[in-house]
């Protein structure tokens, strides 16, 4: 109940943030722009709409998570609202978890709004529903949860601007780290390979959440992949939240 109360208050606070609607506007513009892009290209036009659409859901969703997520905890400390909040009978982890869940709800709604625009556009073009797109959107949501936890982690010890830079780097590195995987296969077995494998484990692989290629080319998504990615997302998020909590637990509020 206490976590729910904090989550709902966080939701009410973040859903009013104007920056969300600005990003929503950009996302909608990009999605709609993809249709015009499709008109001037040769080849499969639907592919371009799907490709650009899914990419913008991920990118703008991540930007929302970062911009709002890095302010969540900072604002409570900066505006000193945390003083009275933590004087109530709540644990600090409950506070952090409430903040996370509140923003997760906000992001879910934003993602649904963006997806609606995207799905309507695809439907207008193809006149049929591609159920795989829903899976892609679900995976993007998992990715957003992970980004949110990372933004909250950084904001537990640094300013919104620095945290945004860190979180954005996490997003970018995470989407490039698949290069590491291909690299590992080229390394000879031995300590170097183990080292590279450890590195790969530490660096997030956000490409796990990206199924654009499969979707666009109509490739099947195995249920095994689906399960693995869900577990990967959930455990990575919990892991990051735990670190955030360990930092937050002993923090002085001055």
């Amino acid at each position: 109940m206490r976590i729910t109360a904090i989550a709902l208050n966080t939701f009410k606070e973040t859903i009013r943030d104007r920056i969300l609607y600005l990003l929503l506007f950009f996302a909608a513009s990009t999605i709609i722009f993809s249709r015009f892009l499709a008109l001037i290209t040769v080849g499969d036009r639907v592919k371009i709409i799907k490709d650009v659409g899914l990419a913008s859901l991920s990118l703008f969703g991540a930007l929302m998570a970062i911009v709002i997520g890095t302010q969540l905890v900072y604002k409570e400390i900066d505006k000193k609202t945390i003083f009275t909040l933590l004087s109530k009978p709540i644990h600090r982890y409950q506070f952090l978890l409430g903040k996370f869940l509140g923003l997760a709800l906000t992001l879910l709604i934003m993602l649904l709004l963006m997806s609606l625009i995207f799905l309507v556009l695809v439907f207008l073009h193809t006149s049929k529903i591609d159920w795989n797109l829903l899976i892609a959107i679900y995976l993007i949501f998992l990715e957003l949860l992970l980004i949110t936890s990372v933004a909250i982690l950084f904001s537990c010890f640094s300013t919104p601007i620095l945290s945004s830079i860190f979180s954005l780097s996490f997003y970018l590195v995470g989407h490039l780290s698949w290069g590491l995987e291909t690299l590992i296969q080229k390394i000879k077995a031995g300590p170097q390979r183990v080292l590279a494998q450890i590195l790969y484990l530490l660096v997030p692989d956000l490409e796990n959440f990206n199924v654009k290629t499969e979707i666009v080319h109509g490739l099947p998504l195995s249920s095994q992949f689906f399960l693995f990615t869900t577990l990967y997302g959930v455990f990575y998020t919990l892991f990051v939240l735990t670190i955030a909590f360990l930092i937050f637990r002993k923090r002085d509020f001055i």
């Binding site: 109940m1 206490r2 729910t4 109360a5 904090i6 208050n9 009410k12 606070e13 009013r16 505006k79 000193k80 609202t81 945390i82 003083f83 009275t84 909040l85 933590l86 004087s87 109530k88 009978p89 709540i90 644990h91 002993k250 002085d252 509020f253 001055i254």
Partner: protein, 305 residues
């Protein structure tokens, strides 16, 4: 009487500046607050009052020392369920209205939904904010924020209320109302711990006082203990006497034209002076015995500290 709050040898420092040098803020604070008291924590700005309160609430972690609330470790939820806190400059969620805000904090205090609504009404009434129940907090004045902050601190009907400068930023009428509410809390059997740098406030409402200067408690006790009732000297304002006639009777100061202010330290000389004034057809304008005030004590300590 049960001990409500017990602090033993509390130490806290902050790292400040570019080099992150340690600056000692609290240098071994010890105090006890008994049930049913209004305890005044008096000290000049920057003495460490807010820092002490934040340690009690678990917002700051002291390097050394022990804090107990109701005999429990101060960080336990069972202890926190029984306290209320009003911070120094209350800031609250601007997007919420007064009643939404109290509702939210009510949910954190773990009450039943039905009880929360009733308690919100009760509290808005108590602090006189009923007409503004649906106004967003961002439109609230300083005094109104102070009141809504006070209301939230009382939500769980706490046994101990911790108030950081509760009368700060209020107009004279607001101060009086706040003092009345604090007095009522005492009548209800609650314990109040309040900090202030304003002596008058403490003098008017507190049973017991601790004076903190520069991170150390300099004096602690009932007002009665701290301030001796002994008459220090008597101030007499008189006229019609020549200054050489008053010699050796007390310390003389000139005062508004004809009048003379005389500080008399020995009691038996007062009668001599009164006789003398009558004989010489002079006039006594006032005669005030001065006892030591908390202010004398406070000013003396601040100067020393």
């Amino acid at each position: 009487m049960a001990t409500v709050l017990k602090i033993e040898d509390l130490h806290k420092s902050f790292k400040t500046g570019f080099l992150l040098r340690k600056k000692k803020i609290l240098k071994g604070i010890s105090l006890t607050v008994e049930e049913g008291q209004i305890f005044g924590y008096l000290g000049p700005n920057g003495a460490g009052k807010t820092t002490t309160l934040k340690c009690i609430l678990g917002l700051l972690f002291p390097e050394k020392g022990k804090i107990e609330l109701f005999g429990l470790p101060h960080l336990s939820l069972r202890a926190k369920e029984r306290i209320g806190f009003l911070p120094e400059n209350p800031y609250f969620y601007e997007h919420l209205t007064a009643s939404e805000f109290l509702n939210f904090y009510g949910e954190l205090s773990l009450k039943k939904k039905k009880d929360i609504a009733a308690r919100v009404k009760e509290l808005l009434h108590l602090v006189g904010l009923e007409p503004w129940a649906n106004m967003p907090l961002r439109k609230f004045s300083r005094g109104m924020l102070q009141r809504i902050g006070f209301a939230q601190s009382l939500f769980n009907e706490p046994s101990l209320v911790l108030l950081d400068e509760p009368l700060g930023g209020l107009d004279p009428l607001g101060r009086k109302e706040m003092r009345d509410i604090i007095a009522r809390l005492k009548q209800e059997g609650k314990t109040v711990f309040l900090s202030s740098h304003i002596l008058q406030d403490i003098e008017m409402i507190c049973d017991r006082v601790a004076i903190i200067i520069n991170g150390q408690i300099h004096s602690q006790g009932t007002l009665h203990d701290l301030v001796s009732e002994k008459i220090l000297f008597t101030e007499i304002i008189l006229s019609g006497l020549k200054s050489n006639e008053l010699k050796s009777l007390g310390e003389r100061f000139s005062y508004l034209g004809e009048k003379t202010l005389l500080k008399v330290f020995e009691e038996d000389k007062i009668d001599t002076i009164i006789d003398l004034v009558q004989k010489k057809n002079g006039k006594i304008h006032s005669l005030i015995p001065r006892t030591q005030t908390l202010e004398d004590l406070f000013v003396g300590m601040v100067k020393k500290g």
